[in-house]
């Protein structure tokens, strides 16, 4: 008995040591380890502090961004219970209690994630998807409202197929809005009697409640719609999964032209086998087939999307040494009064970067790195944890694949976590460098302007802004607005632009703000939870030049699903060259005299592209710049100098956009 106990303890100690060394590469609580910096909070004089509240008439502050237009949510999604209904009655007089009534629908159903295809924008919502025509981004138009509740309505698009996540218990296969009523005459079994607390305070053995009746109508998983006719989308498949789909990620295997894949991140309660075969929950010790500790992968045959089905459920949290499927952050039992909890049992969101054969998973208690060379069998190659991180929520790679920006959705998005009292490294981004397939924490970044207690605010979804020579992300912070962060220097991220509105409601908490803000072909689109859709563009400020914006705007996507991260390439022309020159000017990496010479030489070649002498002179400048790159003060400047040199050493026809 004693021997057994010791060996168990020993095993425990060994596994703790392994866990600590493997998953605590950097501790960052600042107590006994190297300090990891966060950006400072903005002063109270920041224009975002103290903005006027309002649903449609809130005060706004912007820097380096301009709002071009907005469309409120349409019928079926909009605030108010009835189309054209009068405003809600005034609040009761003081002292009078509010009469019980139906829930208010003051802000409508929640807008969520975005996907893009051609001139169309798809805005997910807990109640369906709205399709917008964005041919003219200054004046976008609603094309189709697709009603299909299920939350959270995470969307992806591939050709004529539109994918949508459903996780809520009220989702129906037939897209009905009535929820799942209990069967007629159903009498719920009595709940088990509450066990008496034990003397020493230990948790008494718990009898689980009998589960609710299964429903053949319930849908939790990924829906697939055919949008060949944008005005009349049809549901072609509905792939059920045990935990539903909180988010999903479109995965395209460059070697497979016949199929696409969908990674399902399910975070909800596990369904019972009576409702969906082979679903069961619980800890792996008691149930090796548990639907926890895995992701599900759907294979979608493009010629027959109706045959889409789950083809694998990889156990990506497995401990390589012991084979335990709950290998990451296995809590374990710690004596009386505690219970066993295995905390990393799901991913919240996964971003794949097929150009590198990698995926970054934000998986509740860990950030993980996956090798996806075989998309149906992703293999974990690194995992990190962080004591300041409550909930690993989402991830983006930089374009070179040398950094990963993770977000921590501390408080789940419904809580106000950007108050002046909330720490700057909680509910923030964590920026990791990625080298030799290993992640190392470099810094934290949080939208710096203090928000009120009525504004839900925490790090949320963003995408890269393709300014060459810099790593820039435009990111949503719920009611904290939009923050554009430059993380080129992974250890010193800085805000270079922003947009913010006052609270949706200035008297009480109300859910609102930007869910996702993504750059798409020259514009930034925001899905505002309460207010609808916003369209923005970047404008020059002291951190961004027009040349940089113009260079970014040369990048064109035919389709964009941000979690299926595209590799960005820039044309080798003068527009891009000028962006690099601006950056080298800003960082003082190249002497002003040399900058002037470069600008003058480029202007002369532009004026007379067939003048061989001028072209030769520009090439000579390129050669010397390339040589100087080795002496650059920062790796970023060295890259810029080499990239600029490569452009101006080319032949004339390629110089022009």
């Amino acid at each position: 008995m004693i021997a057994e106990k010791t060996s168990r303890l020993l095993r425990g100690a060994v596994s703790i040591a392994i866990a600590l060394s493997a998953f605590f590469p950097v501790l960052s609580n600042g107590q006994n380890t190297p300090l990891v910096l966060s950006n400072p909070r903005a002063p109270a004089t920041d224009p975002r502090v103290g903005l006027k509240p309002g649903l449609y008439d809130a005060g706004e502050a912007a820097f380096g961004m301009e709002r071009l237009g907005s469309l409120p949510k349409p019928p079926g999604f909009a605030p108010g219970n009835v189309v054209g209904a009068p405003p809600p009655p005034p609040p009761p007089a003081p002292g009078e209690s509010q009469p019980p009534g139906p829930p208010s629908n003051q802000y409508g159903s929640t807008n969520s994630d975005l996907a893009f295809s051609g001139n169309h924008l798809f805005v997910g919502n807990y109640n369906g998807i709205n399709f917008y025509d964005i041919d003219n981004p200054m004046k976008i138009k609603l094309r189709t409202s697709l009603i299909c509740p299920g939350g959270q309505g995470d969307v992806s698009v591939y050709g004529h197929l539109l994918f949508m996540s459903a996780e809520a218990v009220n989702g129906r296969i037939d897209c009905g809005t009535q929820g799942i009523p209990l069967p007629p005459g159903y009498v719920p079994p009595p709940p088990p009697p509450a066990p008496a607390p034990t003397k020493d305070g230990a948790q008494p053995a718990r009898v689980r409640r009998p589960p609710p009746p299964p429903s053949p109508d319930r849908f939790r998983g990924v829906r697939i719609f055919d949008i060949s006719d944008l005005s009349n989308p049809k549901q072609v498949a509905a792939v059920q999964s045990c935990r539903g789909s909180h988010t999903h990620t479109l995965v395209i295997d460059p070697k497979d032209k016949e199929n696409v894949y969908i990674y399902i991140s399910g975070t909800g309660a596990v369904r019972q086998a009576e409702e969906l075969a082979d679903c069961s929950g619980g800890e792996p010790e008691t149930n090796p087939n548990t639907a926890l500790f895995r992701i599900d992968i759907i294979k979608v045959p493009l010629a027959h999307p109706e045959l889409a089905k789950i083809v694998s459920s990889p156990r990506i949290f497995t401990d390589a040494q012991t084979g335990a499927i709950n290998g990451l952050w296995k809590g374990g039992n710690h004596g009386e009064g505690t219970q066993t909890t295995s905390v990393t049992n799901m991913c919240h969101d996964i971003t794949v970067y097929s150009a590198m054969g990698l995926a970054a998973g934000a998986c509740s208690g860990n950030g993980i790195l996956l090798d996806i060379s075989n998309p149906v069998n992703p293999v974990r190659i690194d995992a990190v944890s962080d004591p300041n991180y409550a909930f690993w929520h989402s991830a983006n790679f930089n374009n070179a694949g040398t950094k990963v920006l993770f977000t921590d959705e501390w408080g789940g998005g419904g809580q106000p976590r950007c108050r002046a009292t909330d720490p700057m490294n909680w509910g923030a981004d964590a920026i990791f460098t990625l080298s030799n397939r290993k992640l190392t924490l470099s810094s934290y970044y949080k939208m710096p302007a203090a928000q009120t207690e009525f504004e839900n605010c925490v790090a949320h979804n963003g995408s890269l802004v393709p300014i060459p020579g810099r790593d820039i992300e435009v990111q949503a912070w719920y009611q904290g607005g939009i923050s554009v962060v430059d993380f080129t220097d992974a250890a010193h991220p800085m805000e270079i632009a922003y947009f913010d509105r006052g609270p949706v409601d200035g008297t009480k908490r109300a859910m609102g703000g930007q869910w996702s803000t993504y750059w798409y072909n020259g514009y930034i689109y925001g899905s505002e939870i309460a207010r609808g859709v916003d369209v923005f563009k970047l404008v020059p400020n002291k951190f961004i030049t027009q040349n940089e914006i113009d260079a970014a705007n040369q990048v064109h996507f035919d389709e964009l699903n941000v979690q299926n991260q595209p590799k960005i390439t820039w044309p080798a022309n003068f527009m891009v060259a000028r962006a690099y020159i601006d950056q080298l000017t800003r960082s003082n990496a190249v002497a002003p005299k040399q900058i002037a010479a470069l600008n003058a030489s480029i202007a002369r070649v532009e004026a007379s592209p067939s003048d061989r002498k001028e072209v030769a002179q520009l090439k000579a400048l390129g050669v010397s710049l390339d040589k100087d790159a080795a002496k650059a003060k920062t790796p970023a400047d060295a890259e810029r100098m080499r990239a600029l040199a490569a452009i101006i050493s080319r032949n004339p026809p390629e110089f022009f956009p």
């Binding site: 004596g335 789940g412 908490r509």
Partner: protein, 228 residues
């Protein structure tokens, strides 16, 4: 001649369709099950009817307010009883999350015209009572007893009497027990027929699960360090 009549009627037809279906108006489509055809809805038909909150959802929120209040009491004790900086930082995290969630739940109930407390004899301010035991005894919890994971009066008493490392240990084990109870409450909610169909509540319950799990993870890590 015939040709011109055709042309006129074609033009009329075109005019007719143009006025009948305004090309500016978006269509509202409700798909059917896979393979079924989709329906077109009028704007009025697309509106989500108001739904009365489900009884188990209401009692979940009311119960969780009571449950969370105890954590705030425990952290209040921590402020004076412990000199452990890491534990103080954790206490700050717990207080922020539990107090925020209490406010959120009260707002949810208020928006739906429901009282914040479970029983009419409740003032709703019991969590402010720092003499934990007196507060617990004075509470009318009806047939509910303590919410899962809540510390018993004896446990709270022991915690209130302890200080230093002994307090730290009791705090960690007690809070893990407390948070574990919230996970049970969330599981119970989703095991209850008809519960959790309110989207706001669904998200919130899932977030509670995530938050408490994350904090349990931190506390388990601290217990491990304690053993070293």
């Amino acid at each position: 001649m015939a040709l011109s009549i055709w042309a006129i009627s074609a033009a009329l037809l075109f005019l007719n369709t143009a006025t009948a279906s305004d090309p500016q108006a978006a269509s509202i489509v409700q798909p059917g099950a896979p393979g079924e055809s989709s329906k077109t809805l009028s704007p009025a038909a697309a509106v989500i009817p108001p739904r009365t909150p489900a009884e188990p959802d209401i009692s979940f929120m009311q119960g969780m307010i009571m449950h969370h209040s105890q954590a705030v009491e425990m952290v209040d004790l921590l402020r004076t009883r412990s000199r452990n900086k890491k534990l103080q930082a954790l206490g700050k995290r717990i207080t922020i999350s539990q107090s925020d969630e209490i406010k959120y739940m009260k707002q949810w109930l208020e928006d739906r015209g429901q009282p914040a407390a479970m029983s009419h004899s409740q003032s709703g301010s019991h969590h402010m009572d720092h003499s934990a035991m007196g507060g617990m005894k004075g509470m009318d919890m009806g047939s509910m007893g303590l919410m899962p994971g809540m510390l018993t009066p004896e446990q709270m008493q022991a915690l209130a009497k302890a200080s230093g490392p002994a307090f730290d240990h009791l705090f960690l084990t007690g809070m893990i027990q407390h948070h574990g109870g919230a996970l049970i409450m969330v599981q119970d909610l989703f095991d209850t027929p008809g519960a959790g169909q309110d989207n706001v509540l669904f998200d919130f319950a899932t977030d509670i699960d995530n938050t408490q799990t994350a904090e349990i993870r931190i506390m388990q890590g601290m217990l491990k360090e304690e053993k070293k």
